[in-house]
C-alpha cells in the first residue's frame, strides 16, 4: 500500500518540479530583461563590456523596439541557447556596430512571440550604443533550416528577425524558421 503512495508522491513531486521548471522559463525571460535594462544603461554610459550580471559571458548590445506593439527588448551578443533564455540575441559573429546586415534571433514562445503579429510595413527600431535606426518590415516567410543556410551579406543594409516556426508547435526543435526581413527607412 505504502509503496503506491510513495510512488504517487514521487510522481507529484516530479510533476511539480517540471511545472516550476516550465514556468521558470517565461519568468526568467521577463526577469532577465529587467536586469538587462540596467546593463544597457551602462552600455549607453560608455562601458564597453557591460555584463548584466558578474558571471555573464555576454553583453547588452542593442535595444529592439516595436512602437505599435509597445514592445522593448534588450538584445544580447551571441546566439547561444543560454543567451536566448534571457533575451533576443545577435546572430552575427562580427560586432553589431560593424555589421550592416543584422540578424537577431529569439525564442518563438518568449521574446519573439510577437513576430507572429508583425505585418509588412511595420516599424522596427534598433537602438545601438551609437545610433538609432528605423527599419520597416519588408517581407516575411518561413524557411526550412535543413535545406537553407543563413546568409549574412554585409553589402546589404537590413535587419532580420528569426524565430522557430510554427508558432504554436507543441514541441521545440522543429526544422522550420520564420524570417522577418526589414529594410532601413531612409
Amino acid at each position: 500500500m505504502l509503496r503506491r503512495h510513495w510512488l504517487l508522491a514521487a510522481v507529484s513531486f516530479t510533476a511539480a518540479v517540471f511545472s516550476f521548471d516550465a514556468l521558470w522559463i517565461p519568468v526568467k525571460a521577463e526577469l532577465a530583461q529587467h536586469l538587462l535594462e540596467r546593463a544597457w544603461l551602462r552600455t549607453l554610459a560608455g562601458e564597453p563590456n557591460a555584463k548584466p550580471w558578474p558571471w555573464a559571458d555576454t553583453r547588452a548590445v542593442a535595444v529592439l523596439e516595436v512602437p505599435h506593439l509597445g514592445l522593448r527588448e534588450v538584445v544580447l551578443e551571441g546566439s547561444s541557447g543560454r543567451n536566448l533564455a534571457f533575451g533576443p540575441t545577435l546572430v552575427n559573429t562580427r560586432r553589431l556596430e560593424e555589421s550592416s546586415d543584422r540578424v537577431l534571433s529569439g525564442h518563438r514562445d518568449t521574446h519573439f512571440n510577437f513576430l507572429k503579429e508583425l505585418k509588412t510595413g511595420d516599424l522596427l527600431r534598433l537602438r545601438t550604443a551609437t545610433e538609432i535606426r528605423d527599419y520597416r518590415v519588408s517581407w516575411q516567410e518561413a524557411v526550412d533550416s535543413r535545406h537553407q543556410q543563413l546568409v549574412i551579406d554585409n553589402n546589404m543594409d537590413r535587419l532580420t528577425l528569426l524565430t522557430c516556426y510554427p508558432f504554436e508547435a507543441p514541441t521545440a526543435g522543429g526544422p522550420l524558421r520564420w524570417v522577418v526581413t526589414a529594410l532601413p527607412e531612409s
Binding site: M1, L23, S79, L84, T89, W139, Q149, I152, N155, A172
Partner: protein, 727 residues
C-alpha cells in the same frame, strides 16, 4: 478498498491452508480414504482462488494503468526536456549526413571538355567522386548548369567499365536508383531541381575508390559586338531569395538550396578544363575572363586549357573569341532531317550599327515606390532613372509614373524632351519616397492607356524589385495590353523577382537588366540604353509554312550586333521561308530558299534536341498563363522522353548491373558542399534553435500533477478504512 481487503484475505487463507495441508497430507498417508475428499476440496479451492485473484487483478489494473500512464507522461516530459536542452547546445551543420551512423569523406573534382563547332557547344562535365574513407559511400552533389542547357547524356565509369545512362520519368528513375543502391550496385542519378540547379547522386563508391560520372549537354553560343561568348557557371552565389511558399504548404517540398563552404575548409573541387574551337577562321583574340589559360592553334582550330593545375571551381568560366576578319555571321538556315520531321534553325544576322538610323521614341518610365523599395533600392532606382533621363534624345517624348498603393503620373500625356520638362522630371524624382503597397496593375494600365503619339514607338521602362504576388495576372496584362509597345524591365536590389521581370521583358519584346549594387547603375543602364536606342529590325514575322512548330513564339526585336536564333520543326524540307519586319521605319522583307540550307550530318541530332529544349521551356512558361499543371507535366515528360532530355520531370539514371557492395555493409551518405565564390562578403551561419516549448511542458506537467495528487488524496482517504476492516 475491496482490493486491499481481498489481498489480505488471500494471504491469510494461504497461510492457514499450508498448515491444514500439512495435517491433511499426514492424515491421507495414514488413511487413504480421505484422499478423494481432499482432492475435491483442493479443486474447489483452486477454482475459488483463481476467481479471487482475477478480480483482484482487474481492480488493480485500472489504478495501476492510470499510474503507469502518468509515469509515462512524466518520462515523455523528461525526454522532451532533455532533447530541447541538447538541441540548444547543438550548432546546425550538415558536414556529414549519414543514414547508418557511419561517416565517410568524399571529394569531387571536375573535368570539363568543351567542343565548339559553329554556334553550338557540346559540353561534357566529368565529376570524379573519390572516397577517402574506409566505408562504402553515397555522394550527393549539387551543381549549376546554364539555364538553357539541353542535358542529354550520362555516362558512368567504374574501373574500366563504361555504362551509358538513360532518360526515365523522374519517379521511375528514382526507384531505379533506389533499388540499385539497396542492392549494392553502383548507380547514379542526375536530376534538375531548379532552372539552373542540378543534383547528382552516386551510390556505392567503394572505400578508396574513384568513380567518374560524365554529364553531357548542348548549349548555344552567344554573339554580340563581333565576338562569340560562352559562359559556364561553376558555383552558386549565396543569395537571400524571398520564397514564394510562405507559410510553406505541407507536402510541398522545395528544392534544397546548395550548401556552400569556403575553399579553405573543403577537399577536392579541383577544376580541369579543355576547350576546342573547331574553325578554319583566324581569331584576333581569344579571352578567358576569370581564368588564366594556355591557347594553342591547331590545324582545324584552337585548344584552350587552364594554366593553373590546382584551379578550383569556385567561379564561372567565361570564354570569348573574336574572328580576325570583322565579318558578322550572315543570315543562315540549317536543317536536320530525322526521317519523320525536319528541324530548322534560322539565324537572323544582326544589322550593322551604322546602317540603322535611330528612331524617335516615346519612353514611359514607371518607378516602383512601394515599401519594399525603401532604402538602397530606391536610391539605385532614382540613380538609374536620372541616368536614363540624361540619355534621352531631343526628338524623343517621355513621361514618368510612380506607383505604390496609388499611381501618380508626372504629365497628362507624354511631352517632348526640353530643358523645362527634364527639370520637372528631376524634381519629381528627387521628391520620391517609398511607402505603401505594390499596385502594379493600375500603373501598367495607366501607362499603356496614355494617348498615343503618332509615328513614335512606345517603350515602357519598368524599374522595380518585382515584389508582387500576382505575377500571372500581370504577365497576362502585359501580353494583352502592350499592343505595339515594348517593355524593358530594370530589376533593382539583391533579390529581385528576376523570373517575373525576365518574362515580362520577353513577352514585351524588350530586354531585362539587373542592378544589384549602386556601382552597377551606370554600366547596366548604358547597356540597356544601347539596345533601347537601336532596335534595328522590329515587328519581325516569319512564315515557316504549314504546320510548323516554332520557338520562340514571341519573336524579339533584332538589335545591332546581336543575332537572333529561331528554331522550328517542319513536316518536310522547307522550300521558302518568308521574313518580314520594320527596318528604319520602313517595311522590310526577305525570302530564304530552302535549297540554300546547310544540312546537319546524319546522326547529328543537335538541332532536334535544341528545338525540344525550347519547346519544353515554352511549356514551362505556359504554366504561368494558367495551363493545367498535370497536363503540362505529361506533355513535358513526353517531349523529354522522345528527345532524351533531362527536365524537371525526367532524370538521367545509370546502373551497373553487378552488385559490388555486400548489402550487410553499411552505406554512408555524404552531402558534398560546393565552393563559396572567392571574395564574397557573405558569411554563412546556422539557424539557431529558437523555441523552449515551455507551454507544452507546463500543460503536461500540470496535468500529471493534478492527476497524481487527486489519486493520492482519493486513496489516502480510504486508507484508515481498509486498515479498520482487516483488524
Amino acid at each position: 478498498m475491496s482490493k486491499l481487503s481481498s489481498t489480505r484475505t488471500r494471504s491469510n487463507q494461504s497461510h492457514t491452508r499450508s498448515i491444514r495441508d500439512e495435517l491433511e497430507k499426514r492424515a491421507w498417508i495414514q488413511n487413504p480414504k480421505l484422499a478423494l475428499r481432499l482432492r475435491n476440496r483442493q479443486a474447489d479451492e483452486k477454482r475459488h482462488n483463481i476467481s479471487c485473484f482475477e478480480s483482484t487483478r482487474r481492480i488493480r489494473s485500472w489504478q495501476d494503468r492510470t499510474l503507469l500512464t502518468i509515469i509515462a507522461v512524466l518520462l515523455l516530459l523528461f525526454v522532451v526536456r532533455t532533447e530541447t536542452a541538447i538541441a540548444d547546445e547543438q550548432t546546425w551543420g550538415l558536414e556529414m549526413k549519414s543514414d547508418s551512423g557511419v561517416f565517410t569523406e568524399l571529394a569531387v573534382n571536375t573535368d570539363i571538355q568543351l567542343d565548339i563547332t559553329g554556334l553550338v557547344a557540346r559540353v561534357e562535365i566529368t565529376q570524379k567522386f573519390t572516397n577517402h574513407g574506409s566505408h562504402w559511400a553515397e555522394g550527393i552533389y549539387r551543381f549549376p548548369l546554364p539555364a538553357d542547357a539541353a542535358v542529354d547524356r550520362l555516362r558512368i565509369k567504374v574501373g574500366e567499365r563504361l555504362l551509358e545512362g538513360e532518360i526515365q520519368e523522374k519517379e521511375i528513375a528514382k526507384q531505379t536508383y533506389q533499388k540499385a543502391r539497396k542492392a549494392g550496385q553502383t548507380a547514379t542519378i542526375v536530376e534538375q531541381q531548379r532552372r539552373n540547379q542540378f543534383e547528382t547522386r552516386l551510390a556505392n563508391i567503394g572505400p578508396g575508390e574513384l568513380i567518374e560520372i560524365t554529364i553531357g549537354y548542348l548549349q548555344n553560343i552567344s554573339y554580340s559586338d563581333f565576338s562569340y561568348h560562352l559562359r559556364l557557371p561553376m558555383t552558386f552565389t549565396p543569395r537571400w531569395e524571398p520564397g514564394h511558399i510562405s507559410p510553406p504548404v505541407p507536402g510541398v517540398v522545395t528544392a534544397p538550396v546548395p550548401r556552400l563552404v569556403p575553399a579553405a575548409s573543403a577537399t577536392g573541387h579541383q577544376l580541369a578544363l579543355q576547350a576546342r574551337i573547331i574553325s578554319t577562321a583566324e581569331f584576333a583574340a581569344i579571352e578567358s575572363r576569370y581564368h588564366d589559360v594556355d591557347i594553342r592553334q591547331l590545324e582545324n582550330g584552337y585548344t584552350i586549357e587552364l594554366l593553373n593545375p590546382d584551379e578550383l571551381n569556385d567561379r564561372d568560366f567565361e570564354l570569348s573569341w573574336t574572328p580576325a576578319l570583322q565579318t558578322q555571321p550572315s543570315t543562315s538556315l540549317t536543317t536536320f532531317n530525322d526521317g519523320e520531321s525536319v528541324y530548322a534553325q534560322l539565324m537572323l544576322a544582326p544589322p550593322l550599327a551604322d546602317s540603322i538610323t535611330p528612331q524617335a521614341r516615346e519612353v514611359i518610365f514607371i518607378i516602383d515606390t512601394s515599401g519594399s523599395m525603401e532604402g538602397a533600392s530606391l536610391a539605385q532606382a532614382k540613380a538609374a532613372l536620372g541616368h536614363a533621363l540624361r540619355s534621352l534624345g531631343s526628338d524623343d517624348h517621355f513621361n514618368l509614373l510612380q506607383f505604390n498603393s496609388n499611381t501618380e503620373q508626372l504629365f497628362d500625356q507624354s511631352v517632348p524632351v526640353t530643358q523645362h520638362s527634364i527639370y520637372l522630371a528631376q524634381n519629381f524624382i528627387t521628391g520620391l519616397n517609398a511607402n505603401g503597397g505594390t499596385e502594379m496593375a493600375t500603373a501598367l494600365t495607366t501607362a499603356l492607356s496614355l494617348p498615343d503619339i503618332p509615328q513614335l514607338m512606345r517603350q515602357v521602362v519598368f524599374i522595380t524589385d518585382g515584389a508582387v504576388g500576382n505575377e500571372t495576372e500581370l504577365l497576362q496584362m502585359v501580353a494583352q495590353d502592350l499592343n505595339n509597345s515594348r517593355m524593358f524591365t530594370v530589376a533593382i536590389g539583391h533579390a529581385p523577382n528576376s523570373w517575373f521581370m525576365r518574362k515580362a521583358a520577353e513577352i514585351g519584346r524588350g530586354s531585362y537588366v539587373h542592378i544589384a549594387k549602386p556601382e552597377e547603375v551606370a554600366e547596366q543602364m548604358n547597356g540597356l540604353w544601347g539596345r533601347i536606342q537601336l532596335p534595328a529590325l522590329t515587328d519581325i514575322c516569319v512564315e515557316w509554312g504549314d504546320s510548323a512548330e516554332y520557338y520562340p513564339e514571341i519573336i524579339p526585336d533584332l538589335y545591332a550586333g546581336e543575332p537572333l536564333w529561331l528554331l522550328a520543326r517542319l513536316p518536310s524540307e522547307p522550300t521558302l521561308i518568308g521574313l518580314c519586319g520594320t527596318l528604319n521605319g520602313m517595311d522590310w522583307t526577305l525570302d530564304i530558299n530552302g535549297w540554300d540550307a546547310a544540312s546537319s550530318a546524319p546522326g547529328d541530332d543537335n538541332l532536334a534536341k535544341l528545338w525540344a529544349r525550347q519547346k519544353i521551356e515554352a511549356l514551362e512558361d505556359s504554366l504561368m498563363f494558367g495551363a493545367d499543371p498535370e497536363l503540362t507535366r505529361l506533355e513535358i515528360t513526353g517531349v523529354a522522353l522522345d528527345y532524351g532530355l533531362l527536365t524537371r520531370h525526367t532524370s538521367l539514371v545509370a546502373v551497373d548491373k553487378t552488385p559490388r557492395r555486400d548489402t550487410a555493409d553499411a552505406l554512408a551518405r555524404t552531402d558534398i558542399p560546393g565552393l563559396l565564390p572567392p571574395g564574397s562578403s557573405t558569411q554563412l551561419a546556422a539557424y539557431p534553435k529558437t523555441a523552449t516549448g515551455w507551454l507544452a511542458q507546463l500543460f503536461l506537467s500540470a496535468f500529471v500533477l493534478l492527476l497524481s495528487s487527486a489519486m493520492l488524496l482519493f486513496s489516502g482517504s480510504r486508507l484508515p478504512m481498509t486498515k479498520h476492516s482487516t483488524t
